[in-house]
Symmetry: none
Subunit: 192 residues, 4 copies
DNA sequence: GGATAATCGAGACGGTACGTCTAGTCTTGTC
DNA sequence: GACAAGACTAGACGTACCGTCTCGATTATCC
């Protein structure tokens, strides 16, 4: 074992407390789920987390940035279910169904984040990079498995059509049910 | 002849001035195009129009409501081009192309309106009714002409996939070019 | 009478409400008397007055500026007692006694204002002009009546010694009793 | 050098470093002279001294307390000049002149400390004990030498009038020149 | 034409969130 | 246990802007 002293961080001073970070994220999550993004203030999050506002702004640049991270892990975990890799299943359909199901809880928060992304370029880039692109890659992988011969462009177009339709209905408060997932699957499969 | 003046209204008092209405709409349009929705305040719109804030709120319930109307006519006119009904054309493709083209100017404003719809239920309903549904009906008509035998559900699904993909790319600041229009057209045609 | 139209004010728009002004001043006065200057926040004053913080900042540039005005009228009235002009009295002694007596209530606030004047040049000038100079003029008048032959410099020096001593004891939390007033009177009279 | 244990103190652990203490005091002095008390933060002092904030608060209870000590020695030394004890001089006048002269550099800091004393009782007591009382005793000694027969009350009153006038002018940003010192001397001598 | 009523521009109003700032404390790892 | 570094809580600050209300003036209909 090398590395005499000096842990990973290397930086001097009191390190950022993971407990505080976790408490803030949990507070943000629960408050936004209950009251909605716009009704939750940074002061409320800080109070609920037993933290100061400064602790928030030391970690994230803006309220939207914080809430994005608060919902990231959750959003991913609910869709990329490990148990979903069962052979023989219709993996594409299952993916879309889980996506729609996950949106019943985190949907309102994601709508607000998409809204925030419209007025703040810096946040839009983070939102794109940390939420949109990973989700897109996950769906692409499912599609690529199903259609090994499909071109890059064809896969991208299918992803755009599928997520586009889902976001469109989410943002317009129209139902995201299993039927939609089934029909979208059929449409895209036929179109590829 | 009696009935000295008395136009249709019948109400006493000074009537709403159409000039003021037009000035407000024009001011809102130009300011939002230049600075973006969030950076424009109701006070700025009033000042630019030479009007008072009260004049705005006498006509519309919220800033979003006003900006919605400011962009409605423009949005429709640019897409539903009368000269577009030339026989023999690929009308679906032309419709999508004009839609994408129109979004290069009014796109930012529409993004902001979609954002506003996420935090305000009352506005979301107006937005749905006055912008989303008419556009949807227009696209549906084009599709129905092309596929007279298609079922209602099939048409709706195609509309959702097409507008969904376009909104998705618009909201994420990804390019809306002719190529996208062509590929989407192909995908949906194959999938119906 | 001339004056075609246009009443006195001339300015358009809703005028500043004297009621709101009065409510803010009263709230500031009572809160500062009870809790002390430092413990009172602008938000507390606004809430107590049933006003918004913006209403405060529209009228005064800073918390100290507001509290200064809140204590001005009171400070003057308590000292420049109309009944004090009784002939035959020792007017100088009476003036100093009333000054000391008035400081038992408004003293803490004035100490805080003097403190605020140390860190804010703009406020120091206002404090000087609106509180210090008027008080100085009042004391000077009393002295001038007693010593009609005294030179300007002699009067100014006496005023400085008298108010200097009183402020010095006030700021250091030392008692301001009748005895002090009597002794100061004697010292200055002998010294002129 | 050996000397395992420590010298006199007896306490275990690393002793407080006098170098750090001196560096902090010097940093506080120079920063406050340049930027003023309010504009200097504890973090700035620590950084300038190459110390940590904890090193400050290990030695003094508050920022004001630290700055008080930073200016104490200087303030005393400048006034209680050993060379001033020359016989035959007007010692009272010389004392007041040196006092006024010293305030041209340390005056702003002392004003801020007097201000801090208004909002913090604990500090006001320290300020009184460590700065005000010693100065008062020094002036009293000069007066007592001049007037051996004067009563305690008379001496105290003269001190109050002299320092009162000086502080009054200092706090109100009015000039503290030799002329003032001369006139005050005359006033008090005549009044005793 | 005189009374009534609603509009007009201007701008103050209450309410409320934001992000910043600082004081003084606590927690690291090092010496 | 002091040290430098820096995260921590607590909470005030001043700004911003929404949608409403008030003011005096104007412009219409109704009688």
């Amino acid at each position: 074992m090398a590395m005499s002293g000096s842990s990973a961080s290397g930086r001097a001073g009191r390190p950022i407390s993971p407990d505080t970070t976790a408490a803030i994220l949990a507070a943000a999550r629960s408050l936004v789920v209950v009251h909605g993004f716009a009704a939750v203030t940074t002061a409320m999050i800080a109070a609920e987390a037993g933290a100061s506002k400064q602790a928030l702004y030391r970690r994230w640049t803006t309220k939207a940035d914080l809430v994005l991270e608060a919902f990231l892990a959750q959003a991913q975990a609910e869709v990329d279910d490990p148990a979903a890799a069962e052979a023989g299943d219709d993996r594409l359909l299952a993916f879309l169904r889980r996506t729609c199901a996950a949106l019943s809880t985190s949907g309102p928060a994601l709508r607000s984040l998409m809204a925030a992304a419209q007025e703040d370029d810096a946040f839009r880039r983070r939102f794109h990079e940390r939420l949109i692109l990973p989700r897109r890659a996950a769906l692409r992988a499912v599609l690529a498995e199903e259609r090994p011969a499909a071109s890059t462009e064809a896969l991208d177009l299918a992803v755009t059509a599928l997520f586009g339709a889902i976001w469109y209905r989410l943002l317009l408060d129209e139902p995201l049910d299993d039927d939609l997932a089934r029909r979208l699957t059929a449409l895209v499969r036929a179109g590829m």
